[in-house]
Amino acid sequence: MSARQVHGIVRPKSAAATFLRLLLFAVLGLFVLYYLMPLIVMAITAVKPLDEIRTGTLLSLPKDVTFEPTLRAWDSACVGVRCEGLKPYVWNSIAMVIPAVVFSTLLGAINGYALTKWRFRGADVIFGLMLFGAFIPFQVVLLPMARTLGVLGLAGTVPGLVLVHTVYGLAFTTLFFRNFFVGVADGIVQAAKVDGAGFFGIFFRIVLPMAPPAIVVTVIWQFTQIWNDFLFGIAFTVGDSNPVTVALNNLVASSTGVKEYNVDMAAAIIAAIPTLIVYVFAGKYFIRGLSAGAVKG
């Protein structure tokens, strides 16, 4: 009885079941290798000297571990004509991601609250119309956005990207907060209203203090999406204002001189580290964001 509880529906204690169990672990293990292999290859290649890369294989361990490629990727590798490594572009990404995440999260929080706890006529329609923005292929807004940023004087700038990411993040942030606040009992809000608390009073003193889980999910989701964005970055920035994803692509795609695969891999790791750290430390919330992204009304 207790054994069955432990092992689910695969019943133990017969030879076939033991075999199935072993097979299960073998397959799961193979998939671990499949998913980890590219990360391992990247890490190994990034610390190998070039001659070892040419003579060895993808998985041969480095004999001389070197961090020179990492330093070059950070500081001095050429992206286009500019040879300062990824460093300036990482700063661009940071300058882009922080305000964009803050603005879109704040707006999403207040929207979600107003749309659920102060359900005015048409609230559902407004939400539905806004949610639609989460599903459009962004190719359909590229041309008008390029023109609009030009008119606003924001073409080719980091603030321009902040605007773009804030605007197209709203659908998601509103969705996350709306779904969270729907689950918060109306009774608490009603009681506060009876006590004479107003719209903002209830928001700041009652609703927001309950909302950290939703805030964390939203911030992580927005951070990951915006940091990893490439399309808006390549369409709306030029050279000096490129975010790190665009710079990484330019660095890897550049065909001048000797191809330094170790520098490429080190650069890829640099671009990946911020979102990987977030994932490792807050994976639970990342997963929640992913499943909320698969829309529920």
Binding site: H7, V27, P38, L131
Partner: protein, 300 residues
């Protein structure tokens, strides 16, 4: 005194009647302009003769006719179908398999789940860079196999016009299959244990229990996984750029790279707009009915 207090309360109440609308208004206005306004704008450009510069005289369907006479558009569509079908099929198969296996009360489940899902946190550019190196025709996986003693092994799909599109499938399945796993695992966990026990009492084996009873109960999960994957497939741009840059030649062009190339490199604004509208229509055909039914169901 008492009167002013009630006045204040009613005035506050009246403020609270329009405040919710006022705070939602800016976001709603942004959506109207940047989503609906821009879509209308793009649709309008697609009905003009715009090339290098936008021209705003109405020219009917001329750009759509040109689009459907462009051989490169057919290359892009064919690639999208090949890529989209394989991408969705493999992601679903691997994701469901992993979810069912992880559902067997595995001790290290948390760690395994974390490993299976981490590629989802990476940028497609990082994924593309890594796989471009792994699939490198001389120094990559081919050399690894040679050194392991398989001398005749050949793997040059990245530079093979016929096969390059499949390298995009390989890398994108690696990145996104964990997501399907997470969706289905959550779905499996939401199923009542009693149903599983009842099936076991009835003598149904594990495979019959899953295929015959549990998976059919997860229809909503299939639907949302399908929608998300299709959406990812049609939008996919970053990975193609990073892995093959649409090449060799235009062999791995997809609608997203086609649109970008005509809009920003070839200065064919009208044609680019027409291709973007085709992408939008394709996604809308699936998403609008889905959203509509989800929101309606949510209201009940």
């Amino acid at each position: 005194m008492a009167r002013t207090a009630t006045d204040l309360v009613t005035r506050l109440k009246r403020v609270d009647l329009w405040l919710p609308k006022v705070v939602v208004a800016p976001s709603f206005a942004l959506s109207l302009f940047f989503v609906y306004g821009f879509i209308a704008w793009t649709v309008y450009i697609s009905f003009t003769k715009s090339r290098v510069m936008p021209r705003y005289e109405f020219a009917g369907l001329i750009q759509y006719i040109r689009l459907w006479e462009t051989p490169r558009w057919y290359v892009a569509l064919e690639n999208l179908v090949i890529f989209g079908v394989l991408f969705m099929a493999f992601c679903m198969a691997i994701g469901i398999l992993l979810a069912i296996m992880l559902d067997q009360r595995i001790r290290a489940e948390g760690v395994l789940r974390t490993i299976y899902l981490y590629p989802m946190a990476l940028s497609f550019i990082v994924t593309g860079t890594a796989w471009k190196w792994i699939l490198n025709p001389t120094l990559g996986i081919e050399k690894l196999m040679h050194d392991m003693g398989w001398e005749s092994f050949q793997f040059d799909w990245l530079v093979d016009r016929e096969m390059a599109i499949y390298t995009i499938v390989i890398a994108s399945v690696w990145q996104s299959s964990g997501y399907v796993m997470a969706l289905f695992l959550a779905g499996l966990r939401s199923i009542d244990d009693e149903i599983i026990k009842a099936a076991a009492v009835d003598g149904a084996g594990p495979i019959r229990t899953y295929v015959g009873i549990i998976l059919p109960m997860l229809r909503p999960v299939f639907l949302s996984a399908f929608i998300t994957l299709m959406h990812l497939a049609i939008k996919s741009y970053d990975l193609v750029v990073a892995l093959t840059a649409g090449g060799p030649g235009i062999a791995t062009d997809v609608p997203a790279t086609f649109m970008y190339s005509y809009a920003f490199q070839r200065s064919e604004l009208g044609l680019a707009a027409a291709s973007a509208v085709m992408m939008l229509i394709t996604i809308m055909a699936v998403v609008v009915p889905y959203l509509y039914s989800e929101l309606r169901a949510g209201r009940k």
